[in-house]
Symmetry: C2
Subunit: 112 residues, 2 copies
DNA sequence: ACATTATACTGTATGTTGCACAGTATATCA
DNA sequence: TGATATACTGTGCAACATACAGTATAATGT
């Protein structure tokens, strides 16, 4: 059952991770830094998850990336775009809706 | 951008729909009835989504189904199993965690 | 009486995405 | 000089929401 739970957890990350990154990128950040930042906030995201995700979000035009080669090691910094903000808003509303639906359903279960 | 939003919405349903069904099946119900029940609660789930989902959850042993052929039309009734309850609990905890993480991240953004 | 709509399912195909696996290359520190 | 941290790229797989297509009975309208 652990495998199955892991699989469900993965599914639950879909969407959530996109919103999380969109929220995070209100401030300019680069991939590796985001991982460390989230770790400090008590959340672990896989490199293998984040990097492809950033590429997808950029391709969608929800975030914009540009290379910083001024320092020792080249880093790709990302920020959210206007479109990204709209998407994030939409997604957060959806999230609320889901929470409401779930609450309503479990509430009904309690009543009966 | 509407297409992209739809795609994100779909991804956000993954996991959520599983939890929703697990919550709903605290009471014995059948597929079509669940669709109508949710509609009354203001939520629309596609038949094409629900039926395959029910099959998967049953295969996982999270819900148990059995056919009722006593009435006019055969219906397959499902209920949550003990395993299903454990999974649901786990998932709801994960959901909380995600909410917390998201709140923490957006909070930090506000502060800075 | 006959068509339409609601009921109640099954089966299979597809696109998206989290994550695994593998690889590249520089910097730091013991 | 060898390990560890930094900071990425590229490709492939499995799971799931949803689309598309189909089956079959009951109720309702005309």
């Amino acid at each position: 059952m652990d495998d199955q739970m892991q699989s469900l957890a993965t599914e639950m990350n879909r969407g959530f991770l996109q919103v999380l990154v969109l929220a995070l990128l209100e401030r300019k950040m680069y991939g590796y830094g985001m991982i460390k930042h989230l770790e400090e906030a008590g959340y672990r995201i896989e490199e293998n998850t984040l990097y492809p995700l950033l590429r997808r979000l950029e391709k969608n035009g929800w975030i914009a990336g540009d290379w910083d080669v001024s320092e020792t090691r080249p880093k790709k910094f990302y920020v959210i775009t206007e479109t990204g903000r709209k998407v994030r808003g939409h997604a957060l509303r959806l999230w609320e809706e889901q929470a409401t639906t779930l609450a309503r359903v479990t509430e009904v279960e309690r009543d009966v």
